[in-house]
Subunit: 226 residues, 2 copies
DNA sequence: TGTGTCTCTCTTGTATCTATGATGGTGGGA
DNA sequence: TCCCACCATCATAGATACAAGAGAGACACA
């Protein structure tokens, strides 16, 4: 009843999914950078499947704006647009604040449960932060923010927010690395966000989130223009 | 250099695009309602193409959350979730307000140009509103709101907002119809939104937008529970 | 040397074919 | 009568075959 595209790996991942993961990883990790051209055949060969599932993967990646397909010519990796970091951060801020305003419509019990879940994801960040394990931290960070949005119950927002994650990862792969000393600070800032939610203080949440994202954004900008 | 998926119809639309348009229309227009099952073969036959391009169309529709594919079983039209109207409206509000806050960072000349463009789309609404041409109005309405977001220059937001349009159309097809007398009111409210932008009054814009969407939402809810 | 054209190759778009999983109905047994 | 196993059917997943568009580069000519 459940399909195989949900990330749970009990089944030996369908060919299309393998092709998708493979290509997505190539892009998100930065090994394939913006403007680079790839062909279905090439990926098909490397993954060991026919072109059909690769085509499906490419279509998915195009839907996620990571790839752009040019008819009869090939696929190019969509380059990170100049203002994209700012774009992503603004949308994240808007959606997360929306989510929190919605969260606060929950009654105390439900909110407490949400807060508890968030604190769990917080704890999951400490390890990677202390180990300066940037990739793991990036995943945990993403999971944390997504958890806030998911808790709000707006499925549309959640899905969109999730798709922003890939773009974020792609940028983070370049940007977070140079500043691993910030990881613990980020965990702390996340804690403050949860506190604000727990205390039903929207204004404080919004302010803290803005500061948090501003700092991330500044880190990005700083890393990009050294 | 331009691909054939951009809606310009000089070329005899690719098979995949025809299949996509056909199926999307079926869903958005409500002729195919939530939960209904369709198969690639069925659409392939009706459109007169093979299953391959239909498959591509289905994948695109799945990416847009209009269709859900179940491996080896078929595709079901994603039903309108109970709270979805509210979800969409909240996101629209958040993104549009974000867009306007960003618009107001433009200098006076640029802002004036944006306002002029918006007023043009306003004029395009009057005709359909007077004629009580609901489908045409729905398109114009969508174009208006999208224009605000597009003008902000956040490409990500624009794309996402656009994708909300289909869902909105789908709901509007059911909801706006019963209240054609509201169309002219909506045009008027749109005018107020533009005025707020022109006067750089964010607070007023946000308030007016909320009222505008609330009214739409109430109209929806009223239409759904008669 | 510069330019226009022509072809050759690469890549996608579509069709078709095969394999396999899912489902629902049927019939036998408890 | 009810339940379970089996099988026919159907739909997709993936592979392969084929056609056609787009570009790069060779080549002829001015």
């Amino acid at each position: 009843m459940e399909d195989t595209r949900d990330g749970s790996e009990r089944a030996p991942l369908a060919a299309a999914d393998r092709a998708y993961e493979f290509t997505r990883e190539l892009i998100v990790s930065g090994r394939l950078s913006g403007g680079e051209l790839i062909s279905e055949g090439e990926i098909a060969e490397r993954v060991g499947v026919s072109r059909t599932p690769v085509r499906e993967a490419f279509l998915r990646l195009q839907a996620e704006e990571l790839l752009r397909l040019f008819p009869k010519r090939g696929a190019v990796v969509v380059p990170l647009a100049p203002g994209e970091g700012e774009d992503v951060l603004e949308i994240r801020e808007a959606i997360e604040c929306l989510a929190v305003r919605r969260l606060l419509r929950l009654d105390d019990d439900d909110l407490a449960r949400v807060v508890e879940r968030l604190r769990e994801t917080l704890r999951a960040q400490s390890g990677p932060a202390r180990r300066l394990d940037t990739p793991a931290f990036a995943r945990a960070d993403q999971a944390f923010h997504l958890a806030i949005v998911a808790a709000s119950g707006n499925a549309l927002a959640e899905r969109f927010y999730g798709s922003l994650g890939d773009r974020q990862l792609r940028m983070a792969a370049q940007a977070l690395h140079p500043r691993p000393e910030r990881l613990e600070v980020l965990v702390h800032e996340h804690g403050a966000l949860v506190d604000a939610i727990a205390q039903r203080d929207v204004a404080r949440f919004e302010e803290a989130l803005r500061a948090h994202l501003d700092a991330t954004h500044r880190a990005l900008a700083a890393a990009r223009r050294p």
